[in-house]
């Protein structure tokens, strides 16, 4: 079990949710994916770990995970994808619109800039990842 996985289950527990088999299958599938997953890809991946995982449970689990800030929906070329991110601090996700891979970036200085910018407009940024779309090195060629 990866650290990310352990972390997510811990946060779930803190919020009073149980670590059931389908939930662990879904969390594991999300953590082991190397890019965001569509709903049906996630269902397939969860079933590979716990075959009885039902679609209704997947929806219900995603709602819980999103509520806890552990799962994020991102829009890529018109499709909706799901990705896990237990990190509740402000940071960036560089998302490649071609291969869909995501690089998680912490850049305190950039965050300060953005924070200052927001403050100028009376905004208080929330501690959620900021999605930045682009093309990665491998896909640019």
């Amino acid at each position: 079990m990866s650290a990310a996985e352990r972390e997510m289950l811990a946060v779930l527990a803190e919020h009073g949710f149980r670590a059931t088999r389908p939930r662990r299958a879904i969390v594991q599938a999300l953590c082991e994916a190397d890019a965001p997953l569509t709903l049906s890809a996630l269902h397939r991946a969860a079933r590979a770990r716990y075959p009885k995982t039902g679609l209704a449970t997947l929806y219900r689990t995603l709602e819980v995970l999103e509520r806890c800030g552990l799962v994020h929906r991102i829009q890529l070329n018109g499709e909706s994808y799901l990705m896990a991110c237990a990190d509740q601090s402000l940071h960036y996700h560089l998302v490649c619109v071609k291969c869909h891979k995501v690089v998680e970036v912490h850049a305190p200085q950039a965050e300060e800039w953005l924070g200052a910018l927001a403050r100028q407009h009376g905004f208080t940024m929330s501690a959620a990842p900021i999605e930045v779309r682009g093309v990665c090195a491998a896909c640019r060629t």
Copy 2:
């Protein structure tokens, strides 16, 4: 007709799409909204301008507008919203998660920072708005 509206119709024309009545109603509804709209709110708003606007046409028009980069889907507290933005340059959208209002911000310096950050990771940012979630001054009280 607002400048944004005119701009969107011009871009549509450039892409070879016709400015039909339902499309103009949808574009106008999007441009006049002071916050992103849900699909059904947009349908209602479009119908207020051209009552015969059908739901299928709304879906088809949104696909066209998104393809042309004129409409963006944003996720807010689990709901999906649509907003118009004809500006194809890199900039930020400060989105209030309470009242849903959006402030469009151009900040060359912040963009340079972010660009440099992305380059360090081999990324080339695409010229799309970057959504930053937070709480606006009015809603913070």
